[in-house]
């Protein structure tokens, strides 16, 4: 229903647009990018403290607009949209950054999100108490198994983002391990730790500022 209304208003806009400049052929600039990104390190394990694995405590910053990792020196800017550290995902907004960013978790497939639902509420980070994308097991985007000690993204969870500059993107996290391959349940603890904290995800970014992902 919602998406058909959006399509309807888009078509109406198109008609008005064509009516004004009926002699010129419309120039169609694709504004939606869809990409799959892999190997984004998220504070990979550097050692053990009191027997617990730890990273260096650093976030990796990423921009949907440029489809690239942003240097951490730019962390206090609107150049990045999302950053990852372990299973924690932050947005450029709230108390995490100066941008207009926020996010929420949508239950459904990536293709189900044809547009951001109009009544959506984008949550904002209030680190460390709460995050726009909840960072605990089975509450946000992943589930941790105490039996296999593996982290698995929950299928059917789409992270819908408002970017630092107020545009929209949707993300499906595909894997949390190096090379996009989860170690076998029988792999050693060392192997599971060594290869974790590498994100593989796909995203769609709408550059025109609309809520459409079509």
């Amino acid at each position: 229903m919602r998406s058909s209304r959006i399509i309807g208003s888009a078509m109406l806009a198109l008609v008005v647009f064509q009516a004004c400049k009926k002699n010129e052929a419309p120039v169609v600039v694709p504004t939606l990018t869809e990409k799959t990104v892999s190997g984004i390190p998220a504070d990979t394990i550097v050692g053990l403290v009191n027997g617990q694995p730890v990273g260096a405590g650093r976030y990796t910053f990423f921009s949907f607009e440029t489809n690239a990792v942003v240097p951490s020196t730019d962390s206090n800017s609107v150049k990045w949209d999302v950053a990852v550290r372990g299973t924690t995902i932050i947005t450029n907004g709230g108390n995490s950054g100066p941008g207009a960013g926020g996010a929420f978790v949508y239950v459904g497939t990536f293709d189900d999100v044809k547009a951001v639902p109009k009544d959506s509420i984008f949550r904002q980070d209030n680190a460390p108490t709460s995050y726009a994308v909840p960072n605990t097991s089975n509450r946000g985007w992943y589930v941790y198994s105490p039996v296999t000690m593996l982290i698995t993204p929950i299928p059917g969870r789409v992270l819908v983002f408002k970017t630092a500059k107020g545009k929209y993107a949707k993300v499906e996290i595909l894997n949390y391990y190096k090379g996009g391959v989860t170690p076998a349940a029988t792999a050693t603890d060392a192997e599971k730790l060594k290869n974790q904290r590498y994100y593989t995800f796909r995203f769609a970014y709408q550059a025109d500022g609309t809520m459409n992902f079509k």
Binding site: G51, V143, S145, P153, P155, G156, A190
Partner: protein
């Protein structure tokens, strides 16, 4: 255990078994041909010729029964897991379950006369746990004037020594037995530092005495003790650093069953029985170790007094009634300190009426009521019909309700895992106070909606329907078919009630899940010539979590593709049902023997693939890589009687050396053994 008017036949299983007398199905002795619910018997001859040592060995070869290796060797009957199956020794329930699983390898079969297997719910007679089925182990008869000594040696330094003694002195019947069983364990992975199965030793002692007191009275008592010791060396690896912790596990169990019985002219039989059983478990890991020791203590006590009275009203009607009380206590450091006592008291009564309406039609109805102190009370009815249109055909239909009481773990567990995810599990009776405590200490982040619905747990209940046919072609061929369906509700599951500030989740127990198991069981027995007997069995099984079925239909369940990692909607056909269930299981048993005692057996046991654990994050069995491989196991044995005193047998289990290191750690591969018996 019961003296009856029915003629007792020998244990010659090569005969069709319709006139075998069984006691488990109705709590009264009845010939199998007159029982309206699915029941089967494993004879002592089958036990001996199969070379079985422990109860799981022989049950693994029975149609419709799966042995599942998880917290010990538990069984699955009609797709219901070990916690929903009642195990009796001479009619009394065994205790000592770990995570709901009663480890069958604790039980020797060397002093067993027969095993009776009743499928479908029998809570109307037995109360809690009799949902999927009841396995009743009937020990050797006292007063037989025989003594035998057995010794077995097999792979992995497996030694099993056994002494059975049975004698009648004046009017006193005695039976005693001793069993010792050990193995040095094994490693499935070459060069592994930790063994797959650690060395263990077990012992069992039995003593029973029965005294006739005049014509009408009889008294007696049985005592059984069982102990096991398992070495336990655990290696914990943390990024290359290996920490070895030495430890052990010790389990002790004992039962004491005194009784007084009154018989009057085969019309009235009344028995007053006491039953006291205890289970003590101790697990320790190197307490001196800097990585932290582990010390787990569990002491369970179960005491019961019961009267059962059977009244043969007429040739066509029989009535049974009984009542009893149970007191159960547990002390464990899993629930607070090892000295905290947790108790439950149960009072119950049951009644059963059997009526022959015509020469072809019989019905039997039963009802039981259990009033419990620690959780809600429960009624368990059952009704069964048997119709015999001819001598060759027997049709059975039965419906019953089964239940399982919440166990002490579900009521009182207080567990926090400091290492993995800092999660906690609280029993339903302690969860509210624990949440208050954590909240007061400012450790709680937020509670979930479920926390508000924490309340006293109800028993898990099931409704079970069985409909079957037994067709006896002639003295050498018999076919059976039975369809079954079990609908379970109020199943107890753990769910999140709160989150801690450090991210850890807090779980408690709820009556949330509904599930179903349904299927078809087929059996055939064929005698070929004088010596050869063929037995075949097959079970088709479908299981599902009903909540999951509903969510799938609503399109709310997703799975992740193995090829591109993307999520897509799950369809009903992708859903693999409850874990550890094989869709197809089958067996084919070939047996040849003669009157002199020479025998040989070949037994083929097949199990199709089964779901193990979730890998794609949806908590369900759906993807191809979440299944263990189906397989066929072949066991074989031969027997050579040397003279009237010496009997010798040898066998090879798992002839083709099938192994699955990951999903069948309890299967060591091919094992050969030699068994010698001396009969005095």
């Amino acid at each position: 255990m019961t003296t009856v008017s029915f003629a007792q036949r020998g244990t010659d299983s090569s005969r069709m078994n319709l006139d075998e007398v069984v006691v488990t199905a109705t709590r009264t002795p009845r010939s199998m041909g007159n029982i309206a619910i699915p029941v089967s018997v494993v004879s002592s001859k089958t036990l001996y010729q199969s070379g079985s040592l422990r109860l799981n060995d022989i049950l693994a070869e029975q149609t419709g029964i799966q042995v599942i290796d998880n917290f010990g060797k538990g069984i699955q009957v009609q797709g219901l897991s070990s916690e929903y199956t009642l195990i009796l020794i001479d009619g009394e329930p065994l205790i000592g379950r770990t995570a709901g699983v009663l480890d069958l390898s604790k039980i020797t079969v060397k002093n067993i006369r027969k095993i009776e297997i009743v499928k479908g719910p029998s809570s109307s007679l037995y109360g809690s746990e009799a949902m999927g089925g009841v396995i009743n182990i009937i020990t050797d008869r006292a007063g037989q004037n025989k003594t035998d000594l057995g010794l077995r040696y097999g792979r992995f330094n497996t030694v099993d020594g056994n002494l059975n003694f049975s004698r009648r002195i004046n009017k006193t019947d005695l039976a005693a037995s001793l069993n010792y069983n050990q193995s040095k364990g094994y490693s499935l992975k070459p060069n592994a530092v930790q063994k797959t199965v650690e060395p263990f030793r077990r012992s069992t002692q039995n003593l029973s005495i029965h005294q006739q007191l005049g014509k009408q009275w009889k008294a007696g008592a049985s005592f059984r003790a069982n102990a096991s010791h398992i070495d336990n060396t655990i290696f914990v690896q943390n990024l290359g650093t290996t920490i070895a912790s030495k430890g052990f596990e010790k389990n002790e169990e004992y039962n004491f069953t005194p009784y007084l019985q009154f018989n009057k002219e085969l019309k009235i039989k009344s028995i007053l029985r006491g039953y006291l059983t205890g289970f003590n478990a101790l697990q320790q890991l190197d307490v001196k170790n800097a990585a932290g020791g582990y010390d787990d203590r569990f002491r369970q006590l179960f005491a019961r007094v019961e009267n059962q009275t059977d009244w043969q009203i007429s040739e066509n009607a029989a009535f049974t009634a009984g009542a009893g009380m149970v007191r159960e206590t547990v002390r464990s450091n899993r629930y607070d300190t090892a000295s905290t006592l947790r108790t439950n008291t149960i009072a119950y009564f049951f009644a059963q009426h059997e009526q022959k309406i015509s020469s072809k039609l019989t019905w039997i109805g039963g009802l039981r009521f259990d009033a419990n102190q620690a959780y809600a009370s429960v009624w368990s009815p059952k009704i069964a019909f048997q119709y015999k249109p001819s001598d060759k055909v027997k049709l059975n239909v039965s419906y019953g309700r089964g239940f399982k009481a919440p166990d002490f773990r579900q009521l009182y567990l207080n567990f926090t895992n400091v290492a993995a995810g800092a999660y906690s599990v609280f029993g339903s009776e302690v969860a509210v106070s624990e949440l208050k405590r954590l909240s007061a200490a400012q450790l709680l982040d937020q509670t979930t909606a479920l926390a508000g619905s924490l309340s006293a747990l109800k028993p898990e209940v099931s409704g079970g329907l069985n409909a079957g046919i037994v067709y006896t072609l002639d003295a050498s061929s018999q076919f059976t078919a039975n369809i079954f369906r079990n609908d379970l509700k109020n199943m107890i599951v753990t769910d999140v009630i709160a989150f801690k500030k450090n991210g850890g989740q807090i779980f408690s127990y709820f009556n949330l899940k509904r599930a179903l198991t349904q299927g078809l069981e087929l059996g055939a027995q064929q005698k070929i010539g004088q010596w050869i007997q063929l037995n075949a069995g097959y079970q088709f099984l479908y299981t599902a979590d009903k909540e999951v079925l509903q969510s799938i239909k609503k399109g709310e369940v997703f799975q992740r593709s193995l090829t591109n990692g993307q999520a897509y909607r799950m369809s009903l056909s992708d859903y693999g049902g409850l874990p550890n269930r094989s869709r197809h299981t089958a067996n084919l048993k070939f047996n040849a023997d003669n009157a002199k005692g020479y025998f040989s057996t070949i037994r083929l046991i097949y199990r199709s693939s089964w779901g193990t654990s979730d890998l794609d994050g949806n908590g369900l069995i759906n993807r191809a890589d979440e299944y263990a491989k189906g397989h066929l196991q072949v066991n074989t044995s031969i027997g050579l009687p040397l003279d009237s005193h010496w009997k010798c047998m040898a066998g090879i289990d798992n002839l083709f050396n099938y192994k699955d290191i990951q999903f069948l750690p309890g299967n060591p591969g091919r094992t050969a053994y030699l068994d010698i018996q001396f009969i005095f």
